[in-house]
Symmetry: D2
Subunit: 297 residues, 4 copies
């Protein structure tokens, strides 16, 4: 059953996701403040709207894919936002990674208008968005989630249902919390081995074969940081944002997050050093530079 889908936010992630939905046969109505990707999508068969409200007005499904909580809030609740166009019965799927409490609040407001919302943040980055192999982590009503499965399957490979509104965001933040911690701890631990005189390749092989192994080392750094590539990928400033959201969540839930908080502060320092636009594995390079060592495969 092909659908009319409003899509707000067609940047690095949103654009290829929108193309995959077109490819799956859906009819897209797209909006972004940046005209460039709109033009590309138009040539790909999408209709271009002049606002979020317009994109939402004829849609069965509205998808938002934006950088931060405040952007999602503005795009959905703000002037000429989705809420001004959306009709009762429509499902809004926010696929951004944002503050779970903001996500829940927006869901509540939409719900009072007869509009259901799912939070459905993704992992897999630009590559996964293009290949349609994203992991999609969903919170919200389970029946609504099931109705949207074909939509999710057009964009991703693994789709997880995590419980009520906000839970998709929470699980995504926990995943990235692990990522941030691994980025910091891997840098210092491997640097220690190299500085102590072990060949990096040997160190890498043993750790990856053993109980200390992480996907961050084996799958992420192996093809990126350990090849000397620190271009994003996933920008340090986005990891910083997500760690900040995790730390805020821990504050709300009164969970002591010692290693997480230390990691967040160390990323704050990286920001101050001007490294926010690099891949979040830039932690590796900072230890290479600090200790005059190489950590390359």
């Amino acid at each position: 059953m092909k659908k009319v889908i409003g899509f707000v936010g067609v940047g690095t992630m949103g654009k290829p996701m929108a193309f995959n939905l077109i490819k799956a046969g859906h009819q897209l109505v797209v909006y972004d403040i940046n005209p460039k990707p709109l033009e590309e999508l138009k040539q790909g068969g999408a209709t271009v709207a002049k606002s979020g409200a317009e994109a939402a007005s004829g849609a069965e499904i509205v998808i938002t894919m934006l950088p931060k909580s405040e952007h999602v809030e503005a795009a959905i609740l703000g002037g000429q936002g989705v809420i001004e166009g959306v009709k009762p019965g429509t499902v809004v799927i926010d696929m951004s990674t944002i503050d779970p409490s903001v996500s829940k609040r927006i869901a509540g407001i939409l719900d009072s208008k007869g509009v259901k919302m799912l939070d459905a943040p993704v992992t897999g980055g630009e590559t996964g968005a293009q290949a349609g192999t994203l992991t999609i982590i969903v919170g919200g009503n389970e029946d609504v989630y099931k109705q949207c499965l074909d939509i999710f399957n057009a964009m991703g490979k693994n789709v997880f249902y995590c419980g009520p509104n906000g839970n998709g965001e929470i699980v995504k933040l926990i995943n990235n919390l692990f990522g941030g911690i691994h980025a910091m701890s891997t840098a210092e631990a491997l640097a220690l081995g190299v500085k102590a005189g072990v060949d990096f390749k040997v160190l890498y092989d043993v750790i990856c074969a053993g109980t200390g192994a992480t996907n961050f080392m084996k799958m992420y750094c192996a093809i990126k940081a350990f090849k000397g590539d620190f271009e994003p990928g996933f920008m340090a400033e986005l990891m910083h944002k997500d760690l900040g959201l995790a730390v805020t969540l821990a504050k709300e839930k009164e969970v002591p997050l010692l290693i997480g908080a230390l990691t967040y502060q160390m990323f704050t320092r990286l920001m101050a050093e001007g490294l926010g636009k690099k891949d979040f594995s830039i932690t590796i390079k900072t230890f290479e530079d600090l200790l005059d060592i190489k950590m390359k495969l």
Copy 2:
């Protein structure tokens, strides 16, 4: 080519390793301060020696498997120790996890007597020792390492050569540094998710499928801590010891180890709380108790 092997230290780990060497056809001469395992090994075909010196006196290979640096030092260099019995040309293989600088010092002393040493700490625990599936991480002269490969293969499955004396210990410490950090960070990060309202199984499944995955979660906790089993396995006090060695190594090499040092101090706190004899994944239980949550599969 079957060999005469002196084996000093036949405890939880050493005993099954010695049995595997007997099974492989080698002739074992064993010594321990505890008579009980000696009796078992005697019935299994080993000869029992009255001291390390005696165990070493007729051996081509001498293996030591002991808890701490000071035990290895005493067993090899102390009164009636290996050094008093060992003949030039023999190879001493210390399979304990100890301070790399102590290991290097002992190797130097043995070398001056015409005796080569390898440091060859293992991972895989009691289960791996019994099954002969240990991972063995070797430092020392490469030719000597190659001569000993059949010995290693009788006890383990993956054998890694890591460079000169001490490097086996260094790589082992880095591996356990990752293990300790994961034990702490996994506890706090998953606790946050559960406290925020996510079902533990869902959280586990998503993290294990994603970029945040670790072997600690997927392979270690899944069959132990997440089943409510906190009996060792690998005792928290041994993890504490190894983290202490890693922090000391970082001090010597002037590597800033922020997350590692914080993790070490948190394990020191666990020791003070009397949890040293539990499995090192006891970190999970401390967060369950502190926050009144369950993290069980």
Copy 3:
């Protein structure tokens, strides 16, 4: 020049502050959700109002003294709040310790009604409030600050002007950030000395005489924690709140706050352990208990 002063929030701190204003000859109109202190103040000569709006309606000065940001927001901006009664030209002085950004926002809203606000948080605790020896840390328009100096002098001994709206709160948070860090670091550092075999009194004397001295040790703990008294004083949960505000401020300003963030997380742990109602120097006791030592003068 005696004034009519509306006073909202007459709890542990606010009540004695209000009494000091009465003593200085001012005419007080007081409001609180708790009737008990209102009765006491009535007998002391104050008029009792039925709401914040009523307390503000005839006042030249309105003072608020409440626990948290949300209380101040409700008391000033909420239904029957100060804003509904206050007249243009009145000065609102919020003496609570709250989020600087909330403080600035409220000041902006009041300003648009022709009402000036000062943020004027205090240090010195209940004792200082009773004795009229509080330190008062003021942000806002400097002329307005000067007009209110006699009011401040009736309640405190040291009054500091810190710049525009919000700056009083910021400086207060920095002060408490030091306090929280000292509470944690003093506990662990002195515990180390005692555990290593030094008499506590000797340790105390030497540190207090030297470069490591802090007012926290010399003036605060000396008459409280080191006498075995852990009743507030200043509750751990309030310190936790203030540390949380400092960490949030650091997040907004992108300042890496490593020791501050670690301290905050350790206080979060104390909360989870149920120690929030104790004095914030309870850190001393947790180390006494953990290590089975005494730190008493």
Copy 4:
């Protein structure tokens, strides 16, 4: 009662201390590996020895003042060291800041030769050494301490007796542990205030007047770091050494030292950044540079 005093180690600290002893009427026999200060002391009336052994041979008191544990060990126990010249009944006073366990070990060895030792590290720096106003922190036998009081009073103003051998070193390390923590926490906390828009002088005045005050801010930084002076004073690399000793002591005593360990690792990072020869308040400057702010009085 004027005495013959052997003095080994007459560098930045030792030289002015030796001059103060001469001024008090004692007869000095001095030794150092560096000939330059020996010449100066000779012109000041001291006798120059060719070794530690010779300096000790005719002395009633032998003082050592050296940078690190290994120097003290070599100077006292090594070839041509104090132990080779010293006579039973002599008192050896080591005024260096070293590992308490090394100090205790040396004291034990000297004791077996009929020589008593005191550990008597100092605070107050070069200025205090010159002015004879050092604080001297003494461990060892109390009667021996009393006999040496006139010697201590010639060099210092406050002399503290802290208990048996090693306790002087322990208390000194705790003092410097506070110093290191304050250097780190003061930098980040004040930087937050300034970055949030508070005038530095105001911030300084309020904190110094309040419960957050430290001698580090009021007495040390006020005349140094906050004037833009980061020349030692007390070098960051010496603070790093002392923090390392404190962390090692915590390891031996099984005291969890979370903030201390984090501070130590942050100083390790400063070392790696090449800042070891600066004053330990260089932490202030690193935050000024990182955040592009000024923290100057």
